[in-house]
């Protein structure tokens, strides 16, 4: 280290003495090794030109979460002057992909919570979502195959107009893109992939490398260097890994993850039914949950979790047979309909009568009958993965790169939006105080804000998953009792709704 410092000190003085007259005489420079270092570096850096682009932030991955970060940054006075590079080989980013309202909905949809909607409204992106197909829902029904438990939630329980909104991922993505195009935000899109990344861990060792190009020597010292798939490189003060569950940034930066694959797949597809749907439905089956989410007009989206063998079989069977399976899974398949008076739990909670929620009086409903399959059936394996750390010097992870969750309740993308929002605020705060935006203390603030929130949501989704992987009499009753509690205890019910809406970071009573 000492040697290193000495060498770099001499490098610096060799370059800077003329301009800093006040400092002359302060140090005696043993200039002997300057030339030697310059030679070394000249050899090493011969190939790189002086035209290497330098950015404040490089967002690797221009999906929904990456674009959300860009649009949040573009919308704030402290961050809108930042220069941002977005690295993604997805052609949707460069070309203006038109969305036709007449087309049947894409099966890739997200359920966005009121919290996410307000983030998008703040950034000015939500108005573009509203121009395309989207569906607000104000009711939710969750029940299970045993016929013992069900819970209904109504937006009026928490004095809201809606519980959430379902929109196609491409609608959300293009809304964020339009919002960035509206602004005079300095962004450059690289339709490429990230090959490798050089992070200068020690500020002192960096200096040596800098000596390569004398003119711009100072420019790159504080930066990460990203090598792209076309062979060119860019520099950035901060690299944001928004590149999904198989994050290359996470791998290159050496963040470890904890997680496992569920031996389960999810089938997703778009279906049609005779009348419009305003409710989100979820039923727990012994093989995994099935969800029916409204997507506007007479369309709904199916997310159905099952074993890999079942999913492969159901992907290939004829349409009528598949629809029969879906209708049975949403209706009488696997077990009877629940009835509210069945176990008398209603009376058990009667001491809460004074404070009932609207939905407590609603009885069980049967979801709409599916009449038509309007998209292909897509199969995705399910896994849970969490990065042990979200931030180090100059690198930060957001969205699925930091945490991949079970698609249950559609919380994945909302956690990602929460990350992007939090990171954008923390960058703004850093800029207001003159902080280097790649500084680890600043980025750790983001981690401290998001990690506990993400972990608790992951734990809840995981426990739902576990709770339904067991089919055992007494356990089923316990589970049903939990359902009843969630349906009939008003404070608990309100807490659940506001937690699921993203308004509360932790599922606690306040």
């Amino acid at each position: 280290m000492n040697r290193l410092v000495k060498r770099s000190v001499s490098n610096f003085f060799a370059l800077k003495i003329p301009s800093k007259s006040l400092c002359t005489g302060v140090v005696k420079v043993p200039g002997s090794n300057v030339a030697e270092i310059l030679n070394e570096n000249e050899k090493k850096e011969n190939t790189t030109s002086n035209s290497i682009q330098q950015y404040d932030i490089a967002i690797v991955g221009g999906g929904m979460v990456g674009m959300a970060l860009a649009s949040f940054l573009a919308s704030m006075p402290m961050t809108k002057q930042l220069s941002v590079a977005i690295i993604d080989s997805n052609p949707a980013l460069s070309g203006s992909m038109s969305i036709k309202k007449e087309d049947p909905p894409d099966p890739r949809v997200s359920t966005v919570t009121p919290a996410t909607i307000s983030f998008m409204k703040d950034a000015g992106a939500w108005k573009y979502v509203e121009q395309n197909r989207h569906a607000y829902f104000d009711k939710m029904q969750v029940w299970d195959y045993t016929g013992l438990g069900y819970a209904r939630y109504n937006a009026r329980d928490v004095n809201k107009d809606f519980l959430g909104c379902v929109a196609e991922n491409k609608v959300l993505h293009s809304a964020l893109l339009s919002c960035i195009q509206d602004s005079d935000f300095k962004r450059t899109i690289y339709p490429l992939r990230l090959n490798s990344m050089t992070l200068n861990r020690s500020s002192m060792s960096v200096v040596e490398e800098n000596m390569s190009s004398r003119e711009s020597s100072s420019a790159q010292g504080q930066c990460a260097r990203l090598q792209l798939s076309d062979g060119n490189s860019i520099y950035a003060k901060l690299v944001v890994g928004a590149d999904g569950g198989k994050s290359r940034v996470r791998e290159l930066a050496g963040f470890k993850t904890t997680g496992w694959n569920y031996s389960q797949n999810a089938i997703i597809c778009t279906v049609e039914h005779p009348s419009e749907n305003r409710c989100a439905w979820q039923r727990f089956l012994p093989t995994g949950p099935i969800a029916l989410l409204p997507i506007g007009d007479k369309f709904s989206n199916i997310v159905w979790t099952m074993s890999p063998t079942e999913s492969n079989q159901r992907k290939s069977i004829a349409e009528e047979e598949f629809l029969k399976d879906v209708n049975s899974a949403l209706d009488y398949g696997y077990g009877p309909h629940p009835t509210s008076s069945l176990s008398g739990t209603r009376d058990l909670f009667s001491w809460f009568q004074m404070d009932t929620t609207v939905s407590a009086n609603e009885s069980f409903e049967v979801p709409p009958k599916i009449t038509k399959l309007v998209s292909e059936r897509m199969v995705f394996p399910l896994s849970l993965r969490h990065a042990n750390s979200y931030a180090s010097k100059r690198v930060v992870l957001i969205g699925d790169a930091a945490h991949t969750v079970h698609p249950l309740a559609g919380q994945g993308v909302n956690l990602g939006f929460g990350d992007a929002y939090s990171l954008s605020r923390i960058i703004a705060e850093g800029i207001a105080l003159g902080t280097d935006i790649g500084e680890v203390n600043l980025l750790k603030k983001y981690e401290a804000e998001r990690k506990p929130a993400n972990i608790s949501m992951m734990a809840i989704l995981e426990s739902f998953q576990k709770a339904y992987s067991v089919d055992f009499g007494p356990f089923n009753i316990l589970r049903a009792a939990a359902f009843h509690g969630a349906n009939y205890i008003p404070p608990l019910k309100r807490t659940i709704i506001s937690y699921a809406s993203g308004e509360q970071n932790f599922p606690v009573f306040l």
Binding site: M1, N2, V5, S8, V9, F12, K16, K20, L22, C23, G25, V26, V27, P77, M78, Q81, S203, M204, V206, V207, N210, S217, S218, A219, G221, Q222, K393, E429, G430, I431, A432, L433, G434, T435, D436, E439, V440, N441, L442, K445, A448
Partner: protein
Amino acid sequence: MALNVTIHRILRHRRFLNSANSTLHLTNTRCFSHAPSPSPSQSSKANDKDPHSGPSSLKDNELAKFAAISDTWWDSEGPFKPLHLMNPTRLAFIRSTLCRHFKRDPYSTRPFEGLKIVDVGCGGGILSEPLARLGATVTGVDAVEKNIKIARLHADLDPTTSTIEYCCTTAEKLVEEGRTFDAVMALEVIEHVANPEEFCKSLAALTNPDGATVVSTINRSMRAYATAIVAAEYILHWLPKGTHQWSTFLTPEELAMILHRAGINVEEMAGFVYNPLTGRWLLSDDISVNFIAFATKSQNAI
């Protein structure tokens, strides 16, 4: 007047306790009284062993302490970690007070554009760099040569901070050179100088008429002793042992008084409070441990 006398007694007492360190302290025992104090040049020259630093209010042993750990200035997990963590909080105070005083747009990303600021005791440049990013024309001075080298190297890594002028010199020497600044920063420095009153006079001389001076330090309270010395140095090992000596700390009243005598008036004071749960520092009204003062120089003062 009664306040002055009490403070004088306290100071004399602590100076006396501390006098074993340096003979200089004996000559300074009356420096806060109304009696004429020994002339600055006399008192500081006695202590001046550093050939290039000229008259100085600094202590040699303090310099040696910092030279020993200067390599680690920019290691956010190193000995200066507490300073790195406290830095955003100090900057929040500086940003708000300077924006108000110089009538700058608080929503600007570079609100200090065009302001000349000197960071006295800049160390590795932990404060100078953010000030430069906020648009200020920054001069960083430190009496430890090694600090200046580290600061220069680090600032050169970023074009926005490479404009900082770093000099291995002292506040006194800058005064001799006739330099003045719109704002003078002396953060966590005054507790390391031998003669706080002379130091404040230098800060005042460096401040332009209508300029601002910001000073932060540690209070000489029992809580400060418990937290800044016992906890931070001996229990948590945040700071190397011997970083601070309680007896050299100034209370907010003493600081305000010596600044006032130097011709600058404290207008606002805030405390820094550490939250052990979040690991963050917050600005608060509690000035019992760490505190920061914003002072201005009125036009008629010299």
